[in-house]
Point group: C2
Chain length 316, copies 2
DNA sequence: CTGTTAGCGCGTTCAG
DNA sequence: CTGAACGCGCTAACAG
């Protein structure tokens, strides 16, 4: 049988309250009893029972990662799994676990049920919109953090901006942007950054909407080259899209980066493996997810932007 | 304040014991009190407190996914994050969370500490070897399941075998295999399947070891074509490797699949996006992870193999 | 600084 | 079939 706090207290010759104070580090304790308790705990190989601690403190035991999406199979989205795994790794030392839950577009009911579940220590929201944040159940207020769009997010504006600037610095002038879907909040910042840069440089603004997929990237690249044949660079707001662009250009016999430079965004593992290797910018999903989890667990911090670093390879 | 079992019992005019029996479904209860309790619970919007339940039942609140690897940053491995996310999704309805923990090659101490943690409901092991399973702490015995190599796994032998058979059926005769690292258990089954098929068909066995990476795939393909220039098909045991093979062949001006057919394994998202699109076989990581989690939580099942389905695209 | 006393919310004997 | 009482293991007010 595993040793419990009572055993430690008895062996140390103090009360359980004192033992608890010493071992949890909360509350005062004389050096003498502190020492005795620590020794007793070590001798007995005492390990606290996290479940009992959580119950007693009125805290939950898990972080719920709630991802709002119209697709049912959110597990196929690499960002979802990367973020979930990162949180599961960060939460481990605290004895917490991570649960993943998909939210439908209208998630009012689901959020209520999550709020009612007292095993939920914190909630990390993604794919949300403003309405959702505003209608957040009161009981979730102090323990919810959001990823993206107003919450913890990557500075995609600055990231894409730095790539566009690089394109300009290397002589590109007719730069097209394949953006995200207009109705997705994350599409705004890159589009804005690109537009501002082009305008203030007196260069033409050429934008085609995408949807972050490779298939759409292929089609979008064809549209770009048909509509503006003199385009000498294509900036995509996701690596998946950029892969489609590369394929499309290769099929059309357009050399990259000689005739047309290409950039992506995210720095997925395969970006380094394309031919030629894709120039892109980092997307620290893991850092963001962990920051959001910490914020949800009580850190006051909100709305922080994580920097995106350009990774220049062969395509630009 | 949220309603608790006491409130439900009082409103239903029964004792907490009866209320508990009715709501948990364990133990007898008369139709009358059953009805009263159910109604009272509904009226009050009663939601049980999972943490209290777990403490009382002496169960843990989380599933620990323990991944043994020499690399420190296991989060970068897509299989790790996919498996973790799948378990986090499957565990959600049960009020359980998932924690991810890296294990060093000699994980004796870590396993002890995991076993001592009473918040751990179950352990899913991956990257293990036999010695590790044998030295498993006694307290972990009934609640541990393993992914791969003797545990729940994909039938990679049959998967690679079906691809090799397809290559033969389409006229390929000089088929080379780029395998996994010899010291990894998961490399054995595909190698064995390939070797048996080639031998019994009276065809030459051509094997070059790989390490599941794209970089190594590039190098391995060069080795294959230099050593056996008449090779007309290359089967790789991972899609990442196959991508390297495709790049290497493209760089050498060898048309795929005309001169050399190529197959991978895993069916990662980008396999559909290569040019030409990669023929491969599925690796149901999510299904496997969930099955392992269920097994660890108490299902008796062990050592089940999940089928791998060939996905024939353009490279073979 | 310390020990006593209540809880945290629920499961589960064990007599009725 | 039911209810009173205890146990799960620990934290936190409250006097001392």
């Amino acid at each position: 049988m595993t040793a419990k706090l009572t055993d430690v207290a008895r062996r140390a010759g103090v009360s359980i309250a004192t033992a608890s104070r010493v071992l949890s580090g909360r509350g005062p304790a004389s050096p003498a009893s502190r020492d005795a308790v620590r020794r007793a705990a070590a001798d007995l190989g005492y390990v606290p029972h996290p479940v009992a601690q959580h119950l007693s403190r009125g805290e939950g035991t898990r972080i719920v990662f709630a991802f709002r999406d119209r697709r049912t199979d959110i597990l196929r989205d690499p960002f979802v799994s990367r973020a979930a795994a990162a949180m599961a790794s960060a939460a481990e030392p605290d004895g917490l676990g991570v649960s993943l839950r998909r939210l439908p577009l209208d998630a009012a009911g689901e959020l209520e049920s999550i709020a009612a579940d007292r095993s939920v220590a914190a909630v990390v929201l993604a794919g949300h919109d403003r309405a959702m944040l505003d209608r957040l159940p009161a009981r979730l207020r102090g323990r919810t953090a959001a990823i993206g769009a107003g919450g913890v997010d990557v500075d995609s504006g600055a990231g894409v901006g730095s790539l566009v600037r690089h394109l300009m610095a290397t002589g590109r002038r007719r730069i097209a942007l394949i953006g995200g879907p207009p109705w997705v909040a994350a599409s705004r910042a890159p589009l804005h950054a690109y537009t501002e840069l082009m305008r203030s440089a007196g260069l033409p603004v050429r934008v085609v909407p995408g949807d972050f997929t490779t298939v759409r990237g292929r089609a979008a690249a064809r549209i770009v080259m048909r509509r503006w044949p003199d385009t000498d660079a294509i900036a995509a707001v996701s690596d998946a899209t950029a892969l489609g662009v590369l394929q499309s250009l290769a099929a059309a016999g357009i050399p990259v980066p000689d005739d047309v430079a290409v950039t992506g965004f995210d720095d997925i593992p395969l970006a380094a493996a394309t031919n030629p290797a894709l120039s892109t910018a980092t997307h620290p999903v893991e850092l963001i997810a962990v920051a959001a989890a910490r914020a949800a667990l009580g850190a006051p911090e909100r709305g922080r932007l994580f920097p995106s670093r350009p990774i220049l390879r062969a395509t630009a």
